[in-house]
């Protein structure tokens, strides 16, 4: 065998007469790719408005919940180091951080809705909090997304956990269940969930971090910044 190769007397292998020319292989893949692309992009464009509308509705509902049904809410964008009601143009609009400012029927600001994203035990936990910046007081809390351990740490979405945040003062501190008597004297205390300490601490940490990040911008922002919130003083009783 080897000798025949070295001597150069090779036997030609029988060529497959049914082999497909390369251009045809390329054409097959190109056509398939083009059809696939067209189908996917068409469907995407067609369904996008519906998906966006649903996302907006979910967000609106969450804002209404944490700010206790404001008459309306404005989106404020963070651009060039300060909050502004005008949407940044171009690429910045997608990347810009934003908060939502709720107003009551008399057009007085009632509080901000801030989004919190904090790594939990499994995946990032996403929350929305209602926040009165001048009184540093939480108005409400809602878990938007959590993949925490089912049956144990997913209790962070239950009202028994979330409702206690209302009226608490930032920065929050997590306390154990058997210390829950402290809730009355310490307005920053929230009771952690037994067996889900990591998840509940992540919630508290995330809220504190988010408020610390936003507080200077909220203070600097005119309409609802450092001034007192009469509407809240009246309505925000605990």
């Amino acid at each position: 065998m080897t000798s025949s190769t070295t001597s150069g007397a090779r036997e030609t292998l029988p060529m497959r007469d049914d082999s497909v020319p390369s251009w045809q292989l390329l054409l097959t893949l190109t056509v398939a790719g083009a059809i696939a692309g067209l189908a996917v992009v068409t469907l995407y464009d067609w369904t996008r408005p519906r998906v966006e509308a649903h996302k907006a509705a979910v967000l609106r509902e969450a804002i209404a919940e944490v700010l206790h049904a404001p008459a309306r809410a404005d989106t404020l964008w963070l651009s060039n180091g300060k909050l502004s009601i005008t949407r940044p143009t171009g690429d910045d609009a997608k990347k810009a951080q934003r908060v939502y400012l709720g107003y009551d029927a008399a057009d007085k600001p009632t509080g901000y809705a801030l989004q919190v994203v904090e790594p939990g035990f499994a995946d990032p936990i996403t929350l929305l909090i209602g926040y009165n910046a001048s009184r540093r007081e939480l108005l409400g809390m809602k878990v938007l997304e959590s993949k925490e351990t089912p049956g144990i740490a997913d209790k962070i979405v239950l009202p028994s956990f979330t409702t206690q945040f209302r009226g608490r003062v930032s920065p929050l501190t997590g306390i154990k269940r058997d210390e829950s008597a402290k809730m009355a004297s310490d307005r920053s205390a929230v009771v952690m969930i037994t067996g889900a300490t990591i998840s509940s601490r992540a919630v508290v940490r995330g809220i504190n971090r988010t408020i610390a990040h936003w507080q200077p911008y909220l203070d600097a922002y005119g309409p609802a910044g450092g001034t007192s919130h009469d509407t809240l003083a009246a309505g925000g009783k605990r």
């Binding site: 292989l25 097959t28 696939a36 996917v40 469907l43 369904t47 996302k55 049956g151």
Partner: protein, 234 residues
């Protein structure tokens, strides 16, 4: 262009439409017999609702890609068939993903990353290679629906065990007595293995019992081998 092998073994009668359809549901059930698509079987069967949704989405992809692969089976050169099949499957998965997000956003969110992962379900490419590439559109379509239904059946069976034990409910309806303490582990990934294992155990026990009964029956000289036995001896 190279032709694919003949679809059927010479001498064997052509399978009927019913056989094409039923094959995936029972005799070659993707979950319990072929043991394909284990990733969604473990991951997405914590509730029956999730299991059914995942099964139906897979059914749509399986049916659509079976029909397409079969339709173009004589036009797709053998040399690029894997790329083309995967492209067809991936396109259907993308369509199902976008469609699910628009039609049932909550379910889309619950299934999360597992919808895109349908692309990697070996059941799909397996059926293209083994069936759709060598059979007519009609038969491939039936095969796709059958396999999809079989997969849905498999997932929802595991989902039934997991949801009843893990949440005390079935399809969201409470079925266990009020005093029942749910087994949290059944909702977690290990519960996937436990639930699947329990179902396989039950099936194996049942098949074994049926075989033993048949053996006794034939030993006694009675007419043996019921059709039921043939069905379970998969």
């Amino acid at each position: 262009m190279r032709c694919h092998a003949a679809p059927d073994i010479p001498g064997r009668p052509m399978p009927t439409a019913t056989e094409d359809f039923v094959r995936g549901i029972w005799k070659e059930n993707p979950t319990f017999v072929q043991m394909l698509g284990m990733c969604p079987t473990m991951a997405i069967t914590n509730t029956v609702k999730n299991a059914v949704a995942m099964g139906v989405l897979t059914l749509i992809v399986q049916f659509g890609s079976n029909v397409f692969v079969s339709m173009f089976r004589k036009r797709i050169p053998n040399e690029v068939r894997i790329s083309t099949y995967i492209l067809i499957i991936a396109t259907f998965v993308q369509i199902v993903d976008i469609g699910a997000e628009a039609i049932m956003p909550d379910m889309h969110k619950a299934l999360g990353a597992f919808i895109p992962l349908i692309v990697a379900n070996c059941l799909l490419l397996g059926r293209q290679e083994a069936f759709a590439a060598v059979n007519t559109v009609w038969r491939s379509g039936l095969d796709g629906i059958g396999m999809g239904l079989g997969f849905t059946l498999g997932l929802s069976t595991v989902g039934t065990v997991r949801e009843i034990l893990g949440s005390g409910s079935w399809f969201g309806i409470r079925v266990m007595p009020a005093g029942f303490e749910p087994w949290a582990i059944m909702n977690m990934p290990p519960g996937g293995f436990l639930g699947f294992g329990l179902v396989l155990l039950a099936l194996a026990w049942w098949k074994d019992r049926a075989a033993r009964r048949a053996a006794v029956r034939s030993a006694l000289g009675r007419p043996a081998a019921t059709t039921a036995l043939e069905e379970v001896t998969v």
